[in-house]
Every structure is written in structure tokens, then in C-alpha cells.
Amino acid sequence: MSTRVGSLPAQRLPESRTVRRRLVRVMPLFGLVTAVVLLVAPTLGSTAISLSRVFDLSIPWADNIDAQIFFVARLPRVLAGALVGSTLAAAGVVMQALLRNPLATPFTLGVSAAAALGAMTAIAMHLDSTPVGAAAVPAACFAGAMVGTALVYFLATRAGGGLSTGVLLLAGVTLNTLFSALITFVQYLVDAADWYRTARWLLGNLDVSSFTPILASIPLIVLSFGLFALLPRTLNLLTLGEDVASARGVDVGRAQRIAFLSASLATGAAVSLAGPIGFIGIVVPHLVRLLVGSDHRIVLPAATLFGAAFLVCCDLIARSVMAPIELPVGIVTAIIGGPLFLWLLVRKA
């Protein structure tokens, strides 16, 4: 064991030059796939539209249904899908490394349940009928995520010293259960119409119908990706164990704090935008690891790109496969992601 640790720098962590060379080889492929998906997705859907009509400026806007379908209905949706997909996939990578648990997801530590509880409360209290308007539910959702994050963080650091991953996991999972129970409680109290809204919200929805919610979430997502950018090298060491990481000169406590807070921020922003869409945060990181190995310097950017493509594809299926009936995207990600993940699991075993 000690010899392996001793030889780590050479064996397990290739030099940055090697990584850079692999990045140059791998990333264009992921970039290309994602770009193609993002370009093609808005042209497909339940209604056939003509691209030449979409960009025909001689037709007045109000008469150009094709352009409206493209710009008002599909583009915001595809953008929201790309943002949420990449955010949840990256947050999943970070969570799995932080907790050293392949089953960890962005939703494991109760942040999304806290976010959902915030949204449920806003729906139950009809906050969107107050002057706050349509922003009330996402705002309450994000506030919930931040309260949940603060609670988990407070509990995990209280044990003394730094952030304890063990306590983090236990406190997070317990709070997740607690918040889920409170969600059920709120749902039970509201009347039928609101109950339906809460249930629908929990299934996730990318039909944001305007660019405003997307613009509102971008600063938060950019901030969390800025923090993610500090992490890959450290995550590689953290997955080998806190002792190894600290022996290699990593400020483990600081790295764990950044990882937890950035992943929570990202999750809060994504859930506020589109509700809790499951499976992205676990399936995409594992798929990507299968394709490119486990070096976080490659996995993190690759999962970011692949997450976008994956969720946009799932949403394309959700909005067109049963048209005019639309499927909640969370059902599609689960139906596609679940078996895919199980197949990977069995194959690996």
C-alpha cells in the first residue's frame, strides 16, 4: 500500500502535460457532440417548422409562427436543458469525489429536498399571486437550497476541526429524509389544485417559456463553475483519501468546503430553474468515466458538456414522443438513465 502511495504521482496522476494532450484529444469530440445536439434540438419537436421561415425577416414577427415556435418555445427550453444538464452532471462529479461514494448525486445531501421544500411552501402560500410574481417560486426554491446547505454545513463542521465527510453524509441524508417528509406534509395540507402543482413541480420541467429565469440563474451557475475550476486536481487526490491528499500538500478542509459549497450552489441554481430532474447527476458522470477514465481534470469538463447533450436529448424525447401529450422530463431521464446505469453497473461488476 505504502509503495503504491509512494509511486502515486507517477502512476495515478499523470503530469499536466499528458493530461493536456488527452484533453486536446477528448474535448473536441465531446464539444462536437454537444454542439450538434444543441443546434439540432431546437429544429425538432412535435410541430414541423421550416428553418428558412424561422429566419425569414421579411415575415412580420407576429405572423411568423415558425419563428415563434423556434425562439419562444424551443430555444429557451434547449438552453435551460443545456444549463441544467451540465450543472447537475458537474455537481454530480464533485459530490461523488467529495463523498468518495460512486452513488452520490447532487441530491444526496438534502440540498435539492430543501430547495423543493422552499418551492412547495411558495406554491402553498400562493406567493406567485403576490406582487413578487412568477419569480417567487424559483426564489423561494433557491432560498430553500441555501438554508439546506447552511444547515448541512453547520452540522458537518460542528464536530470540531474541519468538515467531516462522514458527518456531512449522515447529516445530509438525514436532512434529505426530513425535508422530504416536510414536502409531503406541505402537499398534504394544500388543496387539490395546488397539490397538483406541487406534484408536477417535483417531476421537473424545462419549459421555462422565457429567457428571464435562464438569465437569472446564469450568474449563480457561472459562479459555481468558477469554483469547480479550482477543484479537479484536488478531487483526484481526495478520492484517494484525505490522508493521501493532505500528505500531498492539499488543504483538505478548504478543498472539501469549496467542493461542498460549489456543488450545493450549482444544485440550488439548477433546481430553481427546472425542478429536481433526477439521474443526470449520477448517470452522466459514470458514463463519462467509462469513456475517458477517472481523472477529474478530464471527467469534470467532459461531464459538463455531456450533461448538456444528455438532458437536451431527454427533453427532446419528452416533448415529442407522445405529442400532443408531453412527458415530464424527469420521467424520461429516469427511464433512460436508470437502465443505462444498471447496465453499466452490471457490466463493471
Binding site: W61, G133, R319
Partner: protein, 305 residues
Amino acid sequence: MSRSTVSSRQSPVSRRRPVARLIALACFLALAALKASPQAQPTGASRIISLVPALTEMVFAMGAGDKVVAVSSYDDYPPQVVSLPKVGALIDPDVERIITLRPDLVLLYGSQADLMTQLSRASIPYFEYRHGGLADVTTTIRALGLRTGHASQAEAIASEIARRLSGLRERTALLKKPRTMLVFGRESGSLRNIYASGGRGFLHDILETAGGVNVFARVQAESVEASSEMVLARAPEVIIEIRSVDIPEGPPRASELATWNRLAGVPAVRAGRVHLLTGRSISVPGPRVAESAEQVAALLHPGLR
């Protein structure tokens, strides 16, 4: 040797079997008797509990309101029900309170199987209601009239509703029927989670009776989740939005309607034919359906009558 052990183990069981059979038979007979009791109940009721707002309205409309002793937690019409005890609703009926109030007729949803079993055990008769189309409203009124002993009043109400509805059908028959989307749910201030009436159920029937063509008529469901794309593609000429809560006239109402302007290409939006219909009555398939249909008709055909 093993055989003898088996037979010695079996014998006490087989000796007990006739007794077990008798007990089972007795239980079955008792259950059957209990099950039969709701049917065996003569017509007429003096202590009614209604868990279905539509049925509450019917009972009051046929003049049996003074016999209602409790209603569901969703009931708010007619005003007399506000002061009555509330005993839960579809998913959370309070069985203890229901039994304590000693009703001789409970009006409930056909899907409340557990409640029906419990009421049967307590020998309390019940009347099953199932959600249906517009035609089921008058059928239900007549059946409920028979059950409560107000058959003639019920008949009068039912035929009055039928008369008004067929009158409406006649008056709108030759008019141009606008393609309409009937929305009954939407996130306030945005176009997210739009729920519209599909081609089934009483809202769809109301729309067709009022002289409109449902843009989602082909969808065999009571509700359709309509994405922005779907609304643009179906291009309704009129959008009628039902809200159970009242929205004050003036700026609040105007801003709520202005949300639709984002879909500028929809004919209804361009022609300013997006309407809000507020109040609980339209979403209740009760005795006020004719009124609701007339309200919808007035929006679809402004010059009607």
C-alpha cells in the same frame, strides 16, 4: 417414519377445518349482509353528509339542504355550507367524525373504496359519485333525487338544465365555432405548466355546447399539459382561462392576461380574445353547469341572444 410425523401434524388441522369453514362462512354471510345494506336502504334521508361539492350543490338545489349535516373541506357553495362541520374530502375523509355525526346517507366518490368498506361495516348507506361528462350531471341529479326522496324537485332541476343546454346548442348551432383552448391551470405570471381541457370530461362538453371547438378535442384525456410550442402550433382563436380565485378588475387582471402576449402569434392573443373566467362555479359539475355554459358561450359569441 417421516410419513407418520406428517400425518400426526396434519390431523389437528384437519379436525379444525370444519370449524374454520363455518367461521369463514359466517364471516362471509355477515359481510354479505353488510354489503347488501346500502342497497336495501329505502329512499329518503334525513342526515346527509356530502364529500363531493357538486353533489352538495345538487342536494341544496333540490331543497334538501336542511338535511345536510356535514360537507367536505372543499365545499363553499351555497353559503349555508360554510357554517357546517367539515369532514375531509377525497383523499382524507375523517371516518370517525363521519360516523359520529350519525348520517343516514353519505355522498362520496366512487374511488373512495376504503371509506365505502368502513361505512358498510358501520351500516351507513352511501351514494357513489363518478366524474363524467356534462350529460352525467343531469343523470346524477335525478339519481340523487330518487335516493334522497326529492325525485320531483330533482327532475325539475334536471330538465331545466337540459332545456337551457339544448337551447344553447340550438342558438350556437349555425354560428362559426371558434377554435378554443380552455385553460384551467397555469403558473401565475408565466406561461409554465399550462393545463387545458382535453377531449373528454365536462369542461370539454361545456366548451362544445357553448359553440366552441376544443383545440385539444382529439386528445382522449380530461387534461393536457400544453407547452408554449403546443399553444403556438394549435393556434386557438379564443383562450378562456378558468381561475378558482377571484382576480380583481383593473391592473391585476390586465397583467395576468398580458402574460399571454409572449405568444404574439396565437390568433387569440392578436385578436385580444383571451378571457379570464373567475370563480369556483365553472369547475364544479353541479346544478350551475347551464349558467357556466352560457358564460362560456357569451365569451365565444359576443353577440349571442
